[in-house]
């Protein structure tokens, strides 16, 4: 999993039928020190997240598990909202 | 599957019980010409490989299909020791 900031939401009318009713959010992955890294991506939300919140998300097929037994074609999913991050002393050189 | 060179060993006393008695090796993925690429990874050795050898690593969920690894929490296993690599066209 990775930390991310929710940047916005995505509206798509025409989509895979099994995505109907699912909330899609644009997220930016974060490092432990809160800096951005990598590219922003779209993730399906199963934690009730909103724009501006810090969340954690799972990549891969596991992103579809919260919707079992349906298997929406998703590869990233928000599975928790972060209350607090405690990083005593992040390693230098994080990219 | 990927090619990699075994560069070291890992010792971990406290670990998932399903990993007890498995040998863990540090490997550096490489291209067919032997040039290292990508990040180091740790793989379970199922073929008695050693440091300095070029090996075949299966990663992802398929790693659990390696001998004796069913239901083990692993994502990379060494499943072969490479004798030779021939690449057409050279470089």
């Amino acid at each position: 999993m990775q930390l991310a900031k929710v940047l916005g939401d995505v509206v798509a009318t025409h989509k895979d039928a099994s995505l109907t009713g699912l909330k899609l959010l644009v997220i930016q992955p974060l490092n432990a020190d809160g800096s951005s890294f990598g590219r922003a991506l779209v993730a399906v939300d199963s934690a009730g997240a909103g724009v501006g919140e810090t969340v954690f998300f799972v990549r891969g097929k596991e992103a579809s598990f919260p919707f079992h037994p349906t298997e929406p074609p998703v590869d990233a999913g928000i599975v928790g909202i972060v209350d607090q991050v405690h990083v005593p002393d992040p390693l230098p050189g994080n990219r | 599957m990927i090619l990699a060179r075994v560069v070291g060993t890992v010792v971990a006393t406290r670990k998932d019980p399903r990993l007890v008695s498995n040998k863990l090796l540090v490997a550096r993925p490489m291209d067919p010409h032997g040039r290292p690429e990508g990040n180091y990874l740790v793989a379970v050795d199922t073929v008695d490989a050693g440091v300095g050898e070029t090996v075949l690593i299966v990663s992802g969920s398929s790693a659990r299909m390696a001998a004796g690894m069913k239901d083990c929490p692993i994502d990379a296993a060494i499943v072969g020791i490479i004798d030779a690599i021939e690449v057409a066209g050279g470089d």
Partner: protein, 90 residues
């Protein structure tokens, strides 16, 4: 699997039900010489690791679910060992 350094903890009240009771740690993948490699990841702790420890992480969904005894959980990384030593040729 990858070698990583535990750099922090994460508290999340609102999360998928399968995470309840699981410890989430922030880990930084590192090379054998401890230089950071890539971005920070979040992993479920299956062995009782703590901040600053060097650990072995698995980055694959089903393996991570197995590690924490939560089959079908939406997790993709788990800590499966605490590293005592890494011995790498020069």
């Amino acid at each position: 699997m990858q070698i990583a350094r535990v750099v922090g903890t994460v508290v999340a009240t609102q999360k998928h039900g399968s995470f309840v009771g699981a410890k989430l740690l922030l880990v930084q993948p590192v090379a054998p010489d401890d230089t950071p490699r890539g971005g920070t990841l979040l992993a479920v702790d299956g062995v009782g690791a703590g901040v600053h420890e060097r650990v072995l992480i698995v980055i694959e969904g089903r393996a991570a679910g197995e590690a924490v005894g939560r089959k079908g959980a939406p997790v993709d990384a788990a800590i499966i060992g605490i590293i005592d030593s890494v011995d790498v040729e020069a």
